[in-house]
Symmetry: C2
Subunit: 297 residues, 2 copies
């Protein structure tokens, strides 16, 4: 998905949020924002939000001399999610449709403010996700593709959320699939890294690799060759979250997106509403591109 | 009030809103935003939001070849407000405290989306303003200063709102004051111009002059000498709205601000909450500057 002009104000908003996470120095906040403004001024129309995200968070890390501003937030998110893990596992095991329940739980984990917002009620978010259908009608297709798939590439998104992903990965592995779980190449925003994967025990069920980039989303253009091999060789790719949707929505492949929609731009691109949880199969590239379609199905 | 970093994302948001008002051409929207981003990248830390506003709206006018993008919105706002005018006048005449009622009505007129938002209920906004006290305790001081004042400079803000201002101007003139009403030097945003002042009949009660600038707010630095003479010679200056607060909040003088607070940055600067209607006397410049103080009084 290319960046819309509506993304431009949001780039500065994200930069400010990240700069404040990294340091209390208001002079640095200003310098980060002015640097990002200069990036926006030269931003190519065909570029994606993921590319800008990489520039934003690089600027924050370098200008604040803070290599991992969200480290504490990520740890808290993982701990919070791990505290729910046994209960979530039981929910899946006791469910009449464990795969669907696991997918809804994984979607519920894709929420903003996971650990950072003290008022956020994760358990309530899970209950809501379980009580509502996923938007779209792609679950039957996903189930049937999963039945035939052996090699699954699961592209993760955030720390904390990765515990919820582990639930779905276990469910897939229990059905005979081999799962490779993808994390970012290093600290960017609150995105899950190899350290988070180890911390939550993802490696018990899946091989963990990195995309090789420090983007808050995955794009093929600058990804590691090893990641590209896995992407091209996978029978099924499941990409979590907005960042991965933004980076991969124009790619071909046996690709599904699972996300909670957090912004008006992605909502419009997907044809859904903000806050909805979506499982969306990649569309035939010949039919218009960008995954854009009406939300009525 | 200098610009805070929180203003930077908002500059791009304002630019996008204005660009969309001026044209449907998405290429122009993008060029306007990238131009404004370049301005932000070079924005001096001591500059005010009013200065950026001037640059934003100049870029929109020039790049869209639309000299007055809000012309239609301003006309609709004026017509809507004029339709309420007789009723508002009666409210003031029938009130036990006509001056206070007129001030509350003028504050109620200082609202966003006056004519542009079809869902906006202006009459309800007036009822709410009349039902609530103005924030702060500066009305008694204003009443007493007004009693002694002969030459009043009333710095207007938006079209539509100017009809509400006319109610207060009439009330002041009825108490023996001479009022000079200030409009912008030309079309910028939905701000009132000489054309609007004539359209609503402000010139029946006040001499109308312009600030001489195309900023969406008034700052002394680049104002007309004729305006500066009036500003310096006034016994009392009443400045309406956020733009005039942003431009004049650090100036000395027998200065009062009357506004509905619309953004978090101005709310913080004033020590009040978004949506509150404020009448605030300029503070002694020796006591900290910027008009900043707690909202508890």
């Amino acid at each position: 998905m290319k960046a819309y002009v509506d993304c431009y104000p949001c780039f500065l908003r994200q930069a400010l949020e990240a700069a404040r996470m990294a340091t209390d120095d208001e002079g640095i906040h200003r310098r980060v924002l002015q640097h990002v403004a200069a990036l926006i001024a030269e931003f190519p129309p065909e570029a994606t939000p993921v590319e800008m995200g990489e520039g934003i968070h690089r600027a924050v890390r370098e200008m604040s001399a803070s290599p991992d501003p969200y480290r504490e937030v990520k740890r808290e998110s993982n701990d919070l999610a791990l505290s729910l893990y046994p209960e979530l596992r039981e929910m899946v095991k006791g469910s009449p449709d464990p795969l669907l329940t696991a997918i809804k739980i994984a979607a519920a984990g894709n929420v903003a403010d996971f650990g950072a917002n003290p008022g956020f009620d994760l358990e309530r978010s899970v209950r809501e996700a379980l009580a509502h259908d996923l938007v779209g009608s792609d679950f039957p297709l996903f189930r049937s593709r999963l039945r035939e798939a052996r090699r699954i590439l699961y592209v993760g998104d955030n720390a904390g959320e990765i515990v919820f992903d582990k639930i779905l990965v276990e469910e897939m592995v229990g059905r005979g699939a081999e799962v490779t779980f993808v994390v970012r190449g290093g600290p960017v925003l609150n995105d899950a890294t190899s350290e988070d994967a180890r911390y939550v025990g993802m490696d018990e069920f899946a091989e963990v690799i990195t995309s090789g980039t420090l983007s808050p989303g995955t794009a093929l253009r600058n990804a590691d060759p090893a990641f590209l091999d896995r992407f091209n060789g996978a029978d099924l790719v499941l990409a979590k979250g907005q960042g991965n949707y933004e980076g991969l929505s124009d790619e071909p492949g046996p690709l599904f997106f699972l996300l909670t929609v957090k912004c008006a731009v992605v909502a419009r691109d997907l044809g859904v509403r903000i806050g909805e949880r979506v499982l969306r199969a990649q569309r035939d590239r010949g039919r218009g591109g960008g995954g854009r379609r009406s939300g009525s199905e």
